[in-house]
Point group: C2
Chain length 384, copies 2
């Protein structure tokens, strides 16, 4: 198949920041793209060859969009899977496959999959409703504290809550859920695995999420993770195992816990470019976005090694500001060594809205970490 400057069309479901960063590479390779997104202000309106506004959960919208392209991928999991399945039976290549997506979209199914395939993960129980879970707690089948997770629709910490007392149930939705054992862990790690239809498979180095010491919020994604080589090797091996069992095509971001005993437990996966891989744009020989493209087009995969240490800081809207965004002090951080801001192109900021990220690249990881902190303390996403 001839992808480059040809009539070939890649469809992308979702036109947000992940799609926007993917378009950097479709433009680089001059691969035609069609993008579907519900918002008329989606970042992918610019940079795609053709933009369609429409509902990603609507069968007909997704189906009719998909019929126009040769290969279909997505940058968000909340899409109409039935439409993808029908497209697949009609010969459209859909990567990752609806089968992978079905396994992943429901956290209960995802956990069952790990259990069935002997992939280490925290113990859990599934419940059809919040009420069933409450009964299980009353009957001491589940013991507090534990982690409640809704099985569907969770995103960026939504749909996850630590339950310490009966009061913690207040405000939780009456939905299917799991109760997961709380595991004391030292580190949250992630490994991105990439696989093409021919079966070539590669892992990126292990990254580490560094949390704010008080607020329970990821502050830095650090590559490589500052962990023992043996632990890193184990994490990459487990990520590879997950990938092989899923038999996925494209990227698979595998989020993991490193326990106090240096065990690795798989937390969850995302079958697409991932926040934990943004550092790769500047730090890796092949960015995760180019790699995703190579994978879904069955091209050879690129080198996943790093050229230098990379640290990512998310840019989220500051509390107390809503309206037209201003990136206060962005010119100051541009004056720091090896700093690249990525601005997603959302005109309106809101508290905690993901507005962009900043990558810090340096030969010396400690120096990168120092600059990352300076970036974090300098730039502020406010409104005018």
């Amino acid at each position: 198949m001839n992808y480059f400057s040809s009539d070939f069309k890649l469809g992308i479901l979702g036109g947000g920041q992940l799609g926007k960063m993917l378009l950097t590479d479709t433009r680089k390779f001059d691969i035609q793209t069609y993008v579907l997104d519900p918002s008329d202000e989606a970042p992918c309106k610019i940079g795609s060859n053709k933009f369609f506004q429409g509902d990603l959960m609507d069968f007909d919208t997704v189906y009719n969009f998909g019929k126009q392209v040769d290969v279909l991928t997505f940058e968000i999991e909340h899409v109409n899977v039935a439409a993808l399945e029908k497209l697949e039976t009609e010969g459209i290549k859909v990567y990752p496959s609806p089968k992978t997506l079905n396994l992943i979209q429901n956290k209960g199914t995802q956990k069952d999959f790990y259990a069935k395939n002997n992939i280490p993960t925290a113990d859990y129980k599934r419940f059809e409703s919040l009420n069933d879970l409450k009964l299980a707690v009353e009957n001491e089948v589940v013991t507090m504290p534990f982690v409640w997770k809704s099985t569907e629709g969770g995103y960026d910490g939504n749909g996850v809550k630590v339950i310490r007392t009966a009061e913690s149930f207040n405000g939780l939705p009456e939905v299917q859920c799991i109760a997961e054992t709380m595991v004391p862990f030292k580190n949250e790690l992630a490994v991105i695995v990439t696989r093409n239809p021919s079966g070539e498979i590669k892992t990126y180095p292990v990254v580490e999420m560094e949390f704010h010491p008080e607020a329970n919020q990821v502050e830095y994604v650090i590559c490589p993770a500052r962990i023992d080589d043996a632990v890193a090797d184990k994490a990459r091996a487990i990520a590879l195992q997950v990938s092989e069992h899923f038999n996925h095509v494209g990227l698979l971001a595998v989020e993991m816990f490193q326990t106090e005993d240096d065990e690795i437990l798989v937390n969850e996966v995302a079958p697409r470019p991932h926040n934990s891989g943004h550092y790769s744009i500047e730090a890796s020989y092949t960015s995760q976005f180019e790699q995703h493209l190579r994978a879904i087009l069955d091209l050879p995969l690129g080198n996943t090694d790093s050229k230098a240490a990379g640290i990512m800081v998310n840019l989220v809207g500051a509390e107390g500001y809503s309206g037209n965004v201003v990136y206060q002090n962005i010119e100051k951080i541009l004056g720091l060594n090896g700093v690249t801001p990525h601005i997603y192109g959302k005109k309106q900021t809101r508290p905690f809205r993901k507005m962009g990220h900043v990558t810090i690249v340096n030969e010396d990881i400690a120096e990168a970490r120092r600059i990352a902190e300076e970036v974090k303390n300098t730039i502020k996403v406010i409104s005018i």
Copy 2:
């Protein structure tokens, strides 16, 4: 000034591959762009916020386009300078300035400028016409062999010819020209200098153009140049001197000869992103395109060091092929370590048309050079 996700507008004259690569960075920073290009199929039609089709040499077209933007830059020198001058007097920021452009657009003026400012360059004489030059040869004021250059409109080797005998004059146009002494040189080098309106100035490492041993054609641009440190330091110092005399804003690519005696002679300059800097997208901490943007917006300049050795191979249309382009064996070169193709997005190939380039990045420059040769021998730009 607030550039990011704001109403600020950057105008770009020219919508070819240099503009396209610049748009990667305007998108990364979410800076609004308006692009003017004569072709309805210009690569910048996609990725710019607004695209205008029009003649870059037409006063009114350039003037009316420029009135709509806050800062105006260009990716090609052949633009209507009078319109730029008028825009500048009316408060539009034009970078590089029409003054710089005026100095550079005419090779005679450019050479006079070097002579006046004691910048080392090959000896030359200016002539108002080919006829005047022929008379000078007859009268032995100019001795063959020498290099004939038309003072205006030359591009990629057009407008340059070595004159060895009277027959060499055949076919040359009756235009203003210079006759330049032939200097035996070991290497063609280039240094990109970048400067912002506040006067911050930085040079990139010296790159080396490696020529095909028989055909007189650049095959590889290699960073860093494989030359002595002392020569490299001298080249960077001279490039800095050129930049300071021009007082330019943005990028200035300074092409130079390293003579047999290790003298550095300035050949010519280009006030814009340059083919000799394409390696920087993958190899440098800051790509030349991001750097150009930082410079013209008076933002702090980024680190010009390299993360790894970088080699660039141009992708030009193969002889004997015209029509819809196919990049034969591109999937094979994608399987080589650290290889990134850039496809400019021209649907039609023609012999020697610049269709793209390939960057090879590696920690080890000798290994990069080996892979670059494999790339060169593998990929072929043909038509179907």
